[in-house]
Symmetry: C2
Subunit: 574 residues, 2 copies
Amino acid sequence: MKCRIKIHLDGRTETVHCESGAVLLEVLYQNGYNIYGPCGGRGSCGKCLVKIIGAQSDSKLRLACRTEVTGDLELELIPQQELKILAEDRGQDFRVDPYIKLETIYLAPPQIDDQRDYLSRINSMLGTRTAVPSALRSLSALEQQTDLSVVTAGDKIIDICSAKTPPPAYGIAVDIGTTTLVMYLIDLVSGEEVGVYACANPQSRFGGDVITRIDHAINQPHGTAKLADALVNALNTGISQLCDQHSLTREQIYHAVLVGNTVMLHTLLGVNPGSIAHAPYVPFFTDALELAAKDLNLAMNPDGIVELLPAVSSYVGADIIADLLVTDFNCDGWKLLVDIGTNGEIVLGNKDQIFACSAAAGPAFEGARIAFGMSGMPGAVASYRITNQNQIEYETIGGREPVGICGSGLVDIIAALYTNGWLTPTGAFENREELVEYREQPAYQIIPNYDIFLTQRDVREYQLAAGAVAAGIRILIQESGIELADVDRVYLAGGFGNYINPESAAALGLIPKELLARVEKIGNGAGAGAKRWLLDRSAKAEALELKRRIKYIELSARADFQEYFTDAMFFPDY
Amino acid sequence: MKCRIKIHLDGRTETVHCESGAVLLEVLYQNGYNIYGPCGGRGSCGKCLVKIIGAQSDSKLRLACRTEVTGDLELELIPQQELKILAEDRGQDFRVDPYIKLETIYLAPPQIDDQRDYLSRINSMLGTRTAVPSALRSLSALEQQTDLSVVTAGDKIIDICSAKTPPPAYGIAVDIGTTTLVMYLIDLVSGEEVGVYACANPQSRFGGDVITRIDHAINQPHGTAKLADALVNALNTGISQLCDQHSLTREQIYHAVLVGNTVMLHTLLGVNPGSIAHAPYVPFFTDALELAAKDLNLAMNPDGIVELLPAVSSYVGADIIADLLVTDFNCDGWKLLVDIGTNGEIVLGNKDQIFACSAAAGPAFEGARIAFGMSGMPGAVASYRITNQNQIEYETIGGREPVGICGSGLVDIIAALYTNGWLTPTGAFENREELVEYREQPAYQIIPNYDIFLTQRDVREYQLAAGAVAAGIRILIQESGIELADVDRVYLAGGFGNYINPESAAALGLIPKELLARVEKIGNGAGAGAKRWLLDRSAKAEALELKRRIKYIELSARADFQEYFTDAMFFPDY
Ligand code: FES
Ligand code: FES
């Protein structure tokens, strides 16, 4: 039997069909709906909520992965746009000297005493050395014209048109995060950012974090290929939306620059990331790659260039190199960069030496394994404090009614509880009568009249996550032979780093209290670094030089890590 | 109405269908039969002969381009293999140090104290710098293996397999002649030539020489694209036949090296060659090009490399550079190279200077505009002499009954007539009673009892063709400031050069009599040069250096050319 599903999203309504007995989440995926479900449909993350509406329903939220479609349905989805995706950065201005250049030349008609071929003439004017066949084809179709617009990628000519109708030349900078994907459309001539597209990473359906994705790649038939297809399709959707919005053709996108962690870039190319998951944690590639658009089936100019930024190691990816491209590790003084997600990547260095490590923070900061944890979706409590008058103040994403707790909310709540005497320095709840019980755990109701609780186990999850990051920072400080006080800036990068309240993080020891005044948030540093690479060709040499200089410290190989880690799990005095 | 055409070729029979009223030649082309028709179906070359057989027919030869199909037909085609295509060369051994290399490495399992990624390890062993995505994909699928076979193209890794099943690595060297196409299959590991494929250039249907092809490109809708498609399809047919014969897959062809005159290489890439046809004769490109197999839709390994040899100018093409790669213009002493087809390309040089020019010989040497001229097809008279006993001795291609005269036969016949007193030094027939009349011209019946004649106009056509070449040689000798006697070797290249009788050519002044003893035939030098490029990477630098050193002399810009030309039209004393 066929069932009809009527879907409301964003004010628009679509009807799709499926066989009776199908799993609702699968049906939505097959129809292109990108539902966030980090447990991969196992029913354990509680994130794939949809609202079933209509006459015969009670308008309740249901897990799409646990809903069997047995008849016609009507449902409402949470709009993508309300996903809190960090697309902003510090809005730095970058030098505009891109790899892809649009040049206008006057090509004097050839004479019998100078029979050099047209390509040689152009090469000698532009300093280029070769051309792709399609550019030569276009050139031959323009024979009579003397004013030409030439698009170059380094020493290669990739397009030629009449200067009367020069093509706009655009590039896209892409940050492929584990949970979200952000694309910036950049005018390569003016250097301006003209559009942004953001969506959930469609690989989420195969697993919420890099480890479950690697699992999928290893254990499912064509697992890696499916991960690759999901990403490439999402990129192509993004490109076509950006092109539509700005009246561009895909041929006018000449350059794509991609950053992401090492697992993301492996799966993007269809390279099985299996070896990243187990010791000695060796990836298949970390170097910067320059590819043809055709190699990746990207729906841009087929002679366009696709570049992947270099990574440092399996767990310090190209996204971190991108972060470094928009900070000042090339200047005097020691800098600390912390990018916390499922892994906490930590970089400490100055213009002479750089150390990096990755601390396995686990998914707590992204909402998984926390009783009421959720990612940055509407209704997530994102900031929280208890005032001196013992009043509770909080904010939710989208200003909606609170439904759960996201990473920055988690840190705020635990810091508030600790600084108000609800928690001991070891992270145990004090024996207060206001505590309730939730799933056999002592629990704290974070907002009166809402059934949202923070349990003792949640606090432990936080301690494990934060302890790993804090221990990583300690080890890098030790490795570099400096004191904490020598660090003159702390950059917080990534979504979590951007939304976190530094005071709360310092109160709990997640970042060293001594450095609180030196904290600077850089927003989506990975995306900003990709933009810089797109616009400023010197970024490439700088990135390669950074990669060379970075000494990667494998925490799992350090005998002292466990000690620092146990230490760092306790909250500092306040 | 549908008509059935039963086609016999090579012992096989196929039946095709067409609409009544279709032109037979078109029907044959559409069904993949590659009929030689240099006038492009205009009915003027007389070459597209097919034999109509069966009950209601008189088994006569007919021009396929002038035959309308009005009912069922049965016909016999002349087998491709009997086309006299020059695929042999001097069989030189080349240094085997190819661009594409197959390397076997042992990749030690990574350790925690050396977490470099796999690609970096391989790069540091092989001196490579990057890899294509599909090679990384293959590598990731081989994770557990330590013995690897790696295919490299310069500093790029293009394939990776288990060393237990190393891939054969093959390349093809292709000589794209205006009338014929020859492909050599080469084992890139051993350096051995393992197969040859030859066929008529399928562009012939659009015109017999480069000028009519350019015409087609300029004046017909999608003219250039059709020329490109015809070539690419023929190349792909050749590749698949060679692969089938040698039990290879297309993925095992990693490299294709292509030579041809400038018009051929333009049309191969779909670049309109229009500008080559008119002053100042400037082509769109002459540099060597390195392309991806994908750029050209060649049915080889999609990550394989396609290279085009560099050319000198519009009329001294990559085929001539290839000729030079297998001769010794880098050594002491002056060398002369002559490659005669529709154009006579002439190169004169030593290790310090090289001069080149192209003389518009016209199509006489290829059989066009000669009353009984034909290309090197079965039945063509290819050698001819009149003995001291006044006996006629001749040979035909394939040993068949004589039906016409090909280029080398033409030179022999005219030389025999001149040295036996039938022709004056100005090329006029002596007033002999044995002469007959053919198409209102004095004519000589070349073989008793066969209706094959050489007319006065044919002699004039020869004189124009040979005079242009001889004048070109004279001008280069003058330009270089040497004497004829200083030339210590004369290389004859190309099909015509290979089959021509040097004594006859010298008797008529086509090549200088003084140099007769220094003549060496190099066979298909263009193909041999392509093979060398495939096998010996140093050929590339040598070719680029040759291109730099060659000074191209534009004969049409020379005031003295007409004088030399008129001079050279007369036969020398004997
Ligand atoms: S609970 Fe449905 S996807 Fe996780
Ligand atoms: S006469 Fe038929 S193709 Fe020339």
